[in-house]
């Protein structure tokens, strides 16, 4: 593995709310090398979006964050406000889910894409910012006249592509994409994935891609990390993890999206019973045991930690 652009060590994130504290991320470590791509998968409430937001310190101020986050050589958790501003947009930029809410309804999308360039002085004039905006819109497959459109004049797919163009405005080293294609049609999703692929190859963009759709991640990323109840429960090369998962939870996620043509899934949708645990009220032992088809007595006692399950792979399950 090359030099990591992003390195996370023993990250714990706890929300303090009325009525108690909620541990959303419980000891996550991960690395992404420069130019590499990591897919982070898991259900709603597993902590994946909290983790993504913490990387640029976008969490509410009262949130307790411990551990280490190193991005492009900088210690994100101890940065001064000025240092943090320098990291955001240029070292790392984030594409949020829900394109309608992430855009300002009373500003044209062109102005919104240009804004970070002017604030961060990556464009030295209004004209330069405008030219770069048109270029970025072209990259995401939107025609030049779209720059003067307001968000409500665009379709959901177009708005999502505006968000991607905006995230790319300051030429970030790391792109954090949180469910960027979930609301999109199949063909638009394919366009977005192809764009990300081009960017990875052209300019060594490093990618952290977050979604619950394992098939998309496997397609778009070199490595996969599966999160459950605030922890990574399996990690390894994307195809290996998808095709031959070690953890029973990963197997269930992988089976959720059938391979078309595979006889075993025809007229036989595969799901996982039960619901994900509430972060404030985790089951004893392995937090997956109430839903696990393979659970044994030992699973109720101790929470397993990640252990080697193959070359470059690890899983947190006592059966591994």
């Amino acid at each position: 593995m090359g030099e990591p652009l992003l390195s996370v060590r023993n990250l714990h994130i706890t929300y303090h709310r009325q009525g108690g504290s909620v541990p959303a991320v419980r000891g996550v470590s991960l690395d992404i090398e420069k130019g590499g791509s990591l897919g982070l998968a898991g259900e709603s409430g597993c902590g994946k979006s909290t983790l993504a937001n913490s990387l640029l310190r976008l969490l509410p101020p009262e949130t307790e964050v411990t551990g280490e986050i190193t991005l492009d050589g900088k210690d994100v958790l101890t940065l001064s406000p000025g240092g943090l501003r320098a990291v955001r947009w240029t070292s790392g930029a984030i594409v949020f889910q829900g394109a309608l809410h992430a855009l300002n309804p009373v500003q044209t999308v062109g102005d919104q894409i240009a804004e970070p360039m002017l604030v961060h002085e990556t464009a030295d004039s209004q004209d330069a910012a405008r030219a770069r905006t048109i270029e970025l819109l072209g990259r995401v497959g939107l025609a030049r006249p779209r720059a003067t459109a307001y968000p409500h004049q665009l379709s959901g797919g177009q708005r999502q592509r505006v968000l991607i163009a905006m995230a790319l405005a300051c030429d970030p080293l790391l792109l954090i994409a949180d469910e960027p294609t979930t609301a999109l049609d199949l063909m638009v999703q394919a366009q977005v994935l192809a764009l990300l692929d081009d960017l990875k190859q052209e300019r060594e963009l490093t990618l952290l891609f977050i979604t619950h759709d394992l098939s998309v991640l496997t397609y778009a990323c070199q490595r996969l990390a599966i999160m459950y109840a605030g922890r990574i429960v399996e990690e390894g090369p994307a195809w290996g993890v998808f095709e031959n998962a070690s953890h029973p939870y990963t197997r269930a996620l992988a089976a959720a999206f059938p391979t078309i043509g595979d006889r075993s899934s025809r007229m036989a949708p595969s799901g996982l019973g039960g619901d994900p645990p509430t972060p404030g009220n985790l089951p004893s032992g392995c937090p997956f045991h109430p839903r696990c088809p393979l659970a044994e007595d030992g699973c109720l006692v101790e929470e397993p930690s990640l252990r080697v399950s193959g070359p470059g792979r690890s899983a947190a399950c006592i059966l591994v």
Partner: protein, 322 residues
Amino acid sequence: MHPGVTPLVEIEDLHVDFGPARAVDGASLHVDPGEVLALVGESGSGKTTLIRAIQGLQKPTSGSILVEGKPIDAKTKKAIQTIFQNPAVQMVFQDPTGALNPRQTIYEIVAEGLRIQGQPDDEAAKVGQALSRAGLRPPERFFPMYPHDISGGQRQRVVIAGAMIMEPRLLLADEPVASLDASIRGEILALMRHLVDETDLSILVVTHDLGLAWNIADRVAVMYLGRIVETGPTEQILSDPQHPYTKALLSVVPETEEREQQILVGEIPDPTRIPSGCRFHPRCPLLQSGTLAPDLAARCPVDDPGPLAVGALVGAACWAVA
């Protein structure tokens, strides 16, 4: 349609115009009793307008829709009234959180359809049975709960219970699992298939998810710019598609790794400006490949291959398909 079977829904040459926009432009479709039909297409293909017309929420410009042999009467009344006036057709929406009233209990939500029709004596029994059939057991436990007390997957089960309590013949499901977690998706799809298998319920499911069709659909109809451009049994369409549009859609499903991707450029055209000739020709990878015989290639931009024959079980609206 299958000989000897009277279709549950028969749509013939349906047109729905919104001013200059031809949202549905000559669509013909049928749903047989006891089958799941997947209506597949991109945003803007007219899928949603088509199912609104089946519910009587959208008055067709021309063409006919028969449900159980009777024409659908498009009322201009409030949507909710129209839906409950025709209990044979019920709807399951994409986002269960948005579809449920946060201030009503699960019991009240599921009982609402019955109450609009006139409250029956055995209401509690019917609500219990509907919840239980939707996999929420024991049902009494859910009666006093509110939507925020239950998970996303359970909410979609409540939506399904609220539809099934009306004992419908047809369930219209608009992207029923698109907003759900991957783990829950399979459970909801299994429930839908189970309801069809155990009764003579039919489901028309609108989706852009071809894996969903593979999981539960008997037949697939592919819609593009207001028309059905290909239809056939699921296995045939998904393993050997004929229309270049269907081929392109299949090629970009992330799982189908071995196929060469055919990523279409841009989005579906504006329905106010439906292209001349074959409506797909400006985006058609087959036409752009230059491999078509010159007489065919000359034909695509000029001649409309026309809609599929009414009642067709298999077919593709493409000049290059023999």
